[in-house]
């Protein structure tokens, strides 16, 4: 089977390369098609999806990423801040000693050693081979232990019934949920909605990619500049890193 997949990949790459020469906007399509995983292939640990957030570019008061997430995942606008789901939120920080102010998006950090997965009694919280941490709503019982365990308050409990789901992002009352890294887009070779929105707004503060691929933009950047894992003292090996804090 893997042999056949290899053939398939070679074919795709060749086709893409061919298309690249013909198409007017070559480079970007070439990369996209080569990186897209065939639908029938399982994700593997060869890939580790990650995100790098440059806080020096992130604008205070800008919420493009949050709106994009709410739109993509049909979370709706936050009307009841206590109970509405917030997969991504903007945090405004001020360093106590120096008074330096900054702003950044906070969401599930897709820990390699996720406490939410450790504590989940049913195994509903799990980490995919490629590092994306998800909740399997089919077996989540809504005990909220994972919310108690997450050091980043990255999870929300669905407090009300819902009917307006994105067909590709099922969600409903009584389960816990959080940032999926837009897994439904990533599996088809796309990027998370927040990253796209940040770039579209011209801020380019979010970089998404495969940390395991030494040639990827994110891997290069992480190699070149000092990046920070939030609460690194907990040693959770985060998939989301920050620059400039």
């Amino acid at each position: 089977m893997s042999e056949r997949n290899d053939d398939r990949r070679k074919f795709l790459a060749a086709a893409a390369a061919g298309a690249g020469f013909v198409a007017l906007a070559p480079g970007i399509r070439l990369v996209e098609i080569a990186a897209a995983k065939p639908d029938n292939e399982a994700v593997t640990a060869r890939v580790r999806w990650g995100m790098l957030i440059d806080t020096t570019r992130c604008q205070t008061g800008c919420t493009e990423c949050v709106s994009a997430c709410n739109k993509e995942n049909h979370l709706g606008e936050v009307k009841k801040p206590r109970t509405d789901a917030q997969w991504i939120r903007k945090i405004d920080l001020k360093e106590l000693k120096t008074g330096r102010a900054l702003s950044l998006p906070m969401m599930c950090q897709h820990c390699a050693n996720p406490p939410c997965v450790d504590v989940c009694p049913t195994g509903a919280s799990f980490k995919r081979a490629d590092g994306i941490v998800l909740v399997d709503r089919h077996i989540c019982i809504g005990c909220r232990y994972c919310m108690m365990a997450c050091p980043y308050k990255a999870r929300s409990f669905v407090h009300e019934p819902h009917t307006d789901q994105n067909p590709e992002v099922p969600r409903g009352q009584g389960c816990v949920e959080g940032c999926t890294l837009c897994v439904h887009r990533v599996d088809r070779g796309g990027t998370p909605a927040c990253v796209e929105a940040c770039a579209a707004a011209g801020h380019n503060a979010m970089l998404f990619g495969d940390l395991n691929d030494p040639e990827s933009a994110i891997a290069k950047r992480v190699r070149e500049v000092k990046t920070t894992q939030v609460r690194a003292d907990l040693k959770l090996d985060l998939g989301v890193r920050y620059e400039g804090i």
Binding site: K94, P121, G123, K153, H159, Q173, R231
Partner: protein, 397 residues
């Protein structure tokens, strides 16, 4: 113990049905609350994305912890061979089962998807201390039930000691596991202490014995009996030891926490300026649950009524302690960026508020009502009234 013979409890049908009706009413209210929450979602409760565990958990964890503690009475009888406790072992086992059932029912009723309870029982993540707890709870039921059978069926009496040992160790492990539910939450300052699990054991001793004394006192009163003064004296002294130990360990825990720089902010919150949580700690846990009962017990001439009053206070203090531990621990802001002041739409950096609705209390009281009903019915149909062997008691003196 061969000379001990069982005294039949008095039959007072009207009063018995009255008790059942009262308990049933609370259970009904809890069921109504449950249906309401499940239908509308947790948005109608006081719980939210910050205070994810509220009043139902306060009651549920209290009942579970007390359930494991109440079994202590039986353990003292069988493991340490004390006759007056041995006579109380069946009642202690029954209460343990009843309270465990009540606590678990509340826990299940508060799930987001209670319809998937079967999933919870068939999918296990063996790394999860929570799943481990569920296994401990089911094992608890089986072992305590077996223990009751070996005690009540004379042909099996010979096994009661060994099953009693098993029950003793099982309940120690169980309470450790319950305490560890909080100990494993590395992220939360409030639960960072390694003392969490052992402290739950001490608490369980006090709460369990208090619950036992309340039920025992009520049963004696119901049957127009008076508890032998020597027995009363011993049991109240034991309660005093447990309550004192709980107070002492609480003090040790907070003092050691004060020593760690990371914890000082939380300690200041809890002990000084945490509002309701500070009040619940000092007034509820320390005064009502500790100092007052000790005063009641040690003031000269303790009567049965006074011991019951002390026990009720210990229970109230226990609920306050659970409130402080569970809700207070979540109310204190989770520190994501140490050294920074933070603000967001997701209540970062602020003390979270929690105003429980009536239904949450109804759910909690429903758990107590379930335990109560199981006890009342079982005591009615089987012989659980302690049967003391006064000759042996005298010989021991």
């Amino acid at each position: 113990m061969a000379s001990a013979s069982y005294v039949e409890t008095q039959s007072r049908p009207a009063a018995f049905w009255g008790l059942l009706a009262a308990g049933g009413l609370f259970l009904l209210a809890a069921f109504a609350a449950f249906l309401h929450f499940e239908h509308s979602g947790h948005v109608v409760t006081g719980m939210d994305n910050q205070i994810v565990w509220g009043m139902p958990h306060v009651f549920a964890v209290f009942l579970i912890v007390a359930a494991s503690g109440v079994l202590n009475v039986a353990s003292i009888g069988s493991v340490f061979g004390k006759p007056i406790y041995k006579a109380r072992a069946p009642l202690s086992g029954l209460l343990a089962l009843a309270m465990m059932a009540g606590g678990l029912a509340v826990l299940a009723a508060d799930l987001g998807r209670p319809d998937r309870l079967i999933v919870a029982m068939t999918h296990f993540n063996f790394k999860s201390i929570f799943a481990l707890n569920m296994m401990f709870y089911s094992g608890f039921f089986a072992i305590v039930a077996a223990y009751l059978v070996t005690m009540m069926d004379r042909s099996l009496n010979g096994y009661s000691k060994i099953v009693g040992f098993l029950a003793f160790f099982w309940r120690l492990a169980l309470t450790t596991a319950t305490g560890s539910i909080f100990g494993f939450l590395i992220a939360r300052t409030a639960y960072g202490s390694a003392l969490m699990a052992p402290m739950f054991i001490i608490y369980s001793f006090a709460y369990g014995l208090a619950a036992f004394l309340i039920v025992q006192g009520s049963m004696y009163a119901w049957n127009g009996l008076t508890l032998d003064a020597r027995i009363l004296a011993r049991m109240k002294n034991l309660l005093a030891v447990f309550v004192g130990a709980a107070l002492y360990f609480t003090a040790v825990m907070h003092l050691t926490s004060l020593y760690f720089a990371k914890q000082t902010d939380y300690e200041r919150f809890l002990l000084l300026d945490g509002g309701i949580y500070t009040t619940a700690f000092w007034l509820g846990q320390v005064v009502v649950g500790g100092i007052l009962p000790l005063a009641l017990i040690f003031a000269p001439g303790a009567t049965q009524t006074r011991v019951i009053a002390a026990s009720v206070l210990v229970v109230l203090g226990g609920l306050a302690q659970m409130f402080v531990t569970i809700v207070g621990g979540q109310a204190f802001p989770l520190e994501i960026f140490p050294g920074y002041a933070v603000s967001s739409t997701f209540q970062d950096g602020i003390v979270n508020s929690y105003s429980p609705v009536l239904g949450e209390f109804a759910l909690g009281f429903g758990g107590i009502a379930l335990a109560f009903l199981i006890t009342v019915v079982a005591v009615r149909v089987l012989r659980f009234l302690p049967q003391d062997d006064f000759a042996a008691l005298k010989a021991e003196d």
